[in-house]
C-alpha cells in the first residue's frame, strides 16, 4: 500500500559529483531495485543512432564481469537486468533478491563506470537497429529517423563518455532496504567515480522526422509541451490529459472511436522526457489516403467535445487520475519508459522517484501530485485542454496504402 511505504529522498550534493539518489523503502518487498538515470547529451542524427546502440550494448560485459555473468548474477531475483533507452535519457536497472543490495550495486557500478562496449556487438547492434521493423504504434512513439550509416564503435564510446559522467547521473534505490541503505550503497559505489574532462564535439544535423512507414497503418499525434509537478499550470494540463484520453469515457475513446469510428486505438500519454512529461494524444488507424483530413478531424472533434464538458467530466478525470496515481490502473497515462504505462511493481515505483529527481522536481510523493489536481476547476480544466489542443504540434506518419 502506497501509504505504508516510507519514502525518503536524499539529495546529497555537498561535494562535487556526490550522487543524487532517490530512495523508496518498502518493508514488504522481497527484492531490491537499483537504477541509474542518464540524460542524453545534445545529439545530432548520428548520435541519435549511437544512443540507441549504446543502450543495446551497455550490458554486454564490463571489465570485471562477462556478459553471461552480468546476466546470471543480475537475474537472481527472476528479473533480467535492463537498459531502457528513451529518446533523451536512459535507465539502467538491476533487481536483486532481498539482501542483495550490494550485489546489485556492484553490478550497476561496473556497468555504468566500466562497460566494455564490444566492437563486434556495436556493429551487430547497428545492423539490427537499422534494419529493425518496429510496429506502427511503437514507431509512432519515437518518430524520427536516426542516421545509421557510418556509426562506429568510436561514436558509441564518445557518446558514452559525454553522457555517463558523475554529475549527470541520478540514482534510485527501492525495495527491501532500511532508510539510508540505498543512499549509502550508491555513495560507496559512485562517490569517488571520476572521469576525464569531456571533449568538445561537433554536432551534425538533428535526426529527420519520420513521415512515412511501410506498415499499412497511419498514426496521428497531437503533442503538448513538457510538464512536471513544478510547471505553472502543470496540474491543469495533466488533468486535461486524463479528461481527453484516459478511460472509455475520455473524449478520445468516446468521440474518435465510438462516435466517429475512426480507430481502435487512441489514447493520451504523459510521456517521459528528460524535461518532464509530454502530453501526447495519439491515434492509429488503417491507412486510407485521407491522413491530412483525419488529423484535422481529430483536433476539431476533440475541441468540440471540450466545449461540452461539465462538472461530471472533471470528477471523472480526477477519479481516473487517482486510479492511475494511487492504484496504477491499466490505462495509466504516466509512462516511465517506452514499454507501456507505469505499473504497480517495485521497479516502476522506484523509477517514478528516480525520474522525477532527474527532471528536477524532486521525488514527489504521488499524493501531492493528486492534491494539486484536485484544486483544478472546470473552467481551468477546459482552458488547459483547449490550449493543449490548439497549441499542440501535429505529427502524422502515413502508412502504406493496401
Amino acid at each position: 500500500m502506497i501509504g505504508a511505504w516510507l519514502c525518503a529522498v536524499a539529495l546529497m550534493q555537498p561535494q562535487p559529483f556526490a550522487p543524487k539518489t532517490a530512495e523508496l523503502v518498502d518493508p514488504n518487498a522481497d527484492t531490491v531495485v537499483v537504477q541509474a538515470f542518464v540524460p542524453a547529451p545534445e545529439m545530432g542524427a548520428r548520435d541519435a543512432a549511437a544512443w540507441r546502440v549504446l543502450g543495446r550494448v551497455l550490458l554486454l560485459g564490463t571489465r570485471e564481469f562477462s556478459r553471461d555473468q552480468v546476466m546470471r548474477y543480475g537475474s537472481q531475483a527472476g528479473l533480467r537486468p535492463i537498459v531502457v533507452t528513451m529518446p533523451d535519457f536512459m535507465r539502467v536497472e538491476f533487481v536483486a533478491p532481498k539482501g542483495g543490495l550490494s550485489v546489485a550495486g556492484e553490478l550497476l557500478e561496473a556497468v555504468i563506470q566500466r562497460p566494455i562496449l564490444p566492437e563486434l556487438d556495436v556493429r551487430d547492434a547497428v545492423d539490427r537497429l537499422a534494419g529493425s521493423n518496429r510496429q506502427a504504434w511503437s514507431e509512432a512513439l519515437w518518430p524520427v529517423q536516426p542516421s545509421w550509416g557510418g556509426v562506429k564503435v568510436e561514436d558509441v564510446k564518445a557518446l558514452y563518455a559525454r553522457a555517463f559522467r558523475p554529475e549527470r547521473v541520478t540514482f534510485a534505490v527501492g525495495g527491501a532496504i532500511r532508510p539510508g541503505d540505498g543512499v549509502a550503497e550508491i555513495a560507496k559505489r559512485f562517490g569517488s567515480w571520476s572521469v576525464p574532462r569531456a571533449q568538445r564535439v561537433r554536432y551534425d544535423l538533428p535526426a529527420k522526422p519520420m513521415l512515412q512507414r511501410r506498415e499499412p497503418v497511419s498514426t496521428f499525434e497531437l503533442r503538448g509541451e513538457a510538464v512536471s509537478p513544478a510547471t505553472a499550470n502543470g496540474s491543469a494540463t495533466m488533468l486535461a490529459t486524463f479528461a481527453l484520453g484516459v478511460g472509455k469515457e475520455g473524449s478520445m475513446f468516446r468521440v474518435l472511436r465510438e462516435q466517429l469510428g475512426l480507430s481502435y486505438r487512441q489514447e493520451a500519454l504523459l510521456w517521459p522526457s528528460a524535461k518532464g512529461w509530454l502530453p501526447r494524444l495519439m491515434m492509429a488507424r488503417r491507412s486510407r489516403g485521407d491522413e491530412a483530413g483525419t488529423a484535422k478531424t481529430m483536433r476539431d472533434a476533440l475541441l468540440g467535445d471540450v466545449a461540452t464538458w461539465d462538472e461530471n467530466t472533471r470528477v471523472r478525470a480526477l477519479a481516473m487520475a487517482e486510479a492511475s496515481v494511487l492504484r496504477q490502473m491499466p490505462f495509466n497515462p504516466f509512462w516511465l519508459d517506452a514499454s507501456g504505462p507505469m505499473s504497480d511493481d517495485l521497479s516502476d515505483r522506484t523509477a517514478w522517484r528516480g525520474y522525477l529527481t532527474m527532471v528536477g522536481s524532486g521525488a514527489l510523493d504521488e499524493k501531492l501530485l493528486l492534491d494539486s489536481m484536485r484544486n483544478v476547476t472546470l473552467d481551468q480544466l477546459q482552458a488547459a485542454a483547449k490550449s493543449l489542443l490548439e497549441r499542440a504540434n501535429a505529427t502524422v506518419v502515413t502508412g502504406k496504402r493496401q
Binding site: S75, A77, G78, R128, S132, R316
Partner: protein
C-alpha cells in the same frame, strides 16, 4: 449451500462450486489497495472455425459496453475500470477499482451476465472497429498465430478473428455464443484484493446462484502436431519457433517455459509469447531477424548450463508475477479453477526449484528445429 467449499490452508482464500456448477474464488491480498473482480467464461467445447473466426472477440466487445451503455460512466466516475480480453480458452471481464467499491464492481459484473440485445448495425459497426484492431496486430502475434494454426488447426485459431469471419457475424449467432459461453458450469467469478473472504463469497454466490443454463459438454482436449514444413507468413519480418507446451501442472510445463524464457534472454530482441493455461498449447519464441533462431542449435553444453540457471530464476520470477497483483492473481486463480480445479499456482514455485538440468534440456529441445513449429516471415 455450496456443494464444495474448501478453505485453503495457510492462505486467506476460498473457492466454492455452486449447485449450478458456477465457481467462485476469493483471495484476500491485504497489502493491496485495489480490488479486482473478474468474470471468466470458458470457451472450451464451443466450436470455432474459419467461418466463425472472430465471433467470440466481437461478443466480448459488445458485452463490455454493458446493457444501456452506461457501465463505463458509472465505473470511471468512481475511479474504476472495466477491461475485457478473449483468449483461445476463455473470455474474461475485469472490473478493478478501490477496495471500498467492491459492491459496485460486483454489480457491474452481474450486469455483464444480461442477455445481449444488439441490432445488425451495432454488430457491423463494432466489427469495423475490430478490423481496425486487426490492422494493429503486432508482428509477434502474427508469427505466433501462424504457429498455433499450423500445429492445432481450427482449435488453434487466434482469438482476434478475421475480417471474413467478423463480417459474417449476426446478432442471433452472437446470442447463441453468449448462451453457450456463459453456461454456469463454465464460468467463474474470481475476486482478489483487501476483501473479507467469507462475506465476498456470499455476495458472489447471490449473483451466480440464480443462473441456469444449458448443459455443455466438456472440452475435447486440444492436440498439437508439429507441421513437417516451415510455415511461411507474408507481410511480416522475422521468424519464430513454436514449442508445444503441455498444460500448466504437467511436469514438463515449467521446464519448457524456463527454456523459453532463458532463450529469450539470450537471443537479442526475441519475445516469448505464452498465455498461461492448463490446456496444451504453445510457447512461441519470436525474433525480428531471420536466422537468429539458429543459435538454439549451436548451444554448447556450457551455454546450456548457464541458461539453465537463468531459466530457472526467470520462471520463478514469472510465477511470482502471476500472483503479484490482485489483477494477475484473480486471473490465474480463476482460469485454473475453470481448467484444473486441483492446481495451486503457489505450489509451482517449489516445482520450479526442482527443475532438473535434463528436464530443462528437454524443454530447450522443444524449441529446436527438430521439434518446434518453425515459422518464417517474408515481405
Amino acid at each position: 449451500m455450496a456443494l464444495s467449499l474448501a478453505q485453503v490452508p495457510h492462505a486467506p482464500r476460498l473457492k466454492a462450486v455452486l449447485p449450478n456448477g458456477a465457481s467462485i474464488h476469493v483471495e484476500r491480498m491485504e497489502e493491496s489497495n485495489t480490488v479486482s473482480v473478474q468474470l471468466i467464461a470458458s470457451l472450451e467445447g464451443i466450436a470455432n472455425s474459419t467461418e466463425t473466426h472472430g465471433q467470440r472477440h466481437l461478443l466480448e466487445h459488445l458485452l463490455a459496453k454493458g446493457p444501456g451503455k452506461t457501465l463505463d460512466k458509472m465505473l470511471e466516475t468512481r475511479g474504476m475500470l472495466l477491461t475485457a480480453t478473449t483468449t483461445r480458452d476463455y473470455m474474461a471481464f475485469e472490473v478493478c477499482g478501490p477496495a471500498e467499491e467492491l459492491g459496485v464492481a460486483l454489480k457491474a459484473v452481474k450486469s455483464l451476465l444480461t442477455p445481449l440485445e444488439v441490432t445488425p448495425d451495432v454488430v457491423n459497426r463494432e466489427a469495423a472497429i475490430i478490423e481496425e484492431e486487426l490492422a494493429l496486430t503486432p508482428w509477434t502475434t502474427r508469427l505466433s498465430s501462424a504457429a498455433w494454426a499450423s500445429a492445432y488447426g481450427d482449435a488453434g485459431l487466434d482469438p482476434l478473428g478475421s475480417p471474413e469471419g467478423l463480417q459474417k457475424s449476426k446478432p442471433e449467432e452472437l446470442v447463441v455464443v453468449q448462451r453457450e459461453a456463459f453456461t454456469p458450469s463454465h464460468i467463474v467469478v474470481a475476486v482478489a484484493g483487501p476483501v473479507d473472504v467469507d462475506s465476498t463469497v456470499a455476495r458472489v454466490r447471490e449473483i451466480l446462484s440464480p443462473l441456469h443454463g444449458m448443459v455443455r459438454g466438456g472440452a475435447v482436449e486440444r492436440a498439437g502436431k508439429r507441421p513437417a514444413e516451415t510455415v511461411r507468413v507474408a507481410g511480416v519480418d522475422g521468424e519464430a519457433r513454436g514449442a508445444l507446451m503441455p498444460g500448466l501442472g504437467d511436469p514438463m510445463a515449467l521446464p519448457t517455459l524456463a527454456a523459453g524464457l532463458a532463450l529469450q534472454s539470450a537471443i537479442p530482441d526475441s519475445v516469448l509469447v505464452y498465455t498461461a493455461s492448463a490446456r496444451p498449447g504453445m510457447a512461441v519464441l519470436c525474433s525480428p531477424e531471420v536466422g537468429s533462431m539458429g543459435r538454439i542449435e549451436k548451444l554448447s553444453e556450457g551455454d546450456k548450463v548457464a541458461l539453465f540457471e537463468t531459466g530457472r530464476s526467470l520462471v520463478k520470477g514469472w510465477l511470482r508475477g502471476c500472483l503479484s497483483t490482485p489483477s494477475k492473481a484473480a486471473r490465474i486463480r480463476g482460469v485454473m479453477l475453470l481448467q484444473a480445479p486441483g492446481a495451486d499456482v503457489a505450489e509451482w514455485q517449489g516445482d520450479a526449484d526442482r527443475i532438473t538440468f535434463a528436464a530443462f534440456c528437454a524443454g530447450l529441445a522443444r524449441f529446436g528445429v527438430d521439434e518446434a513449429t518453425v515459422v518464417e516471415g517474408s515481405r
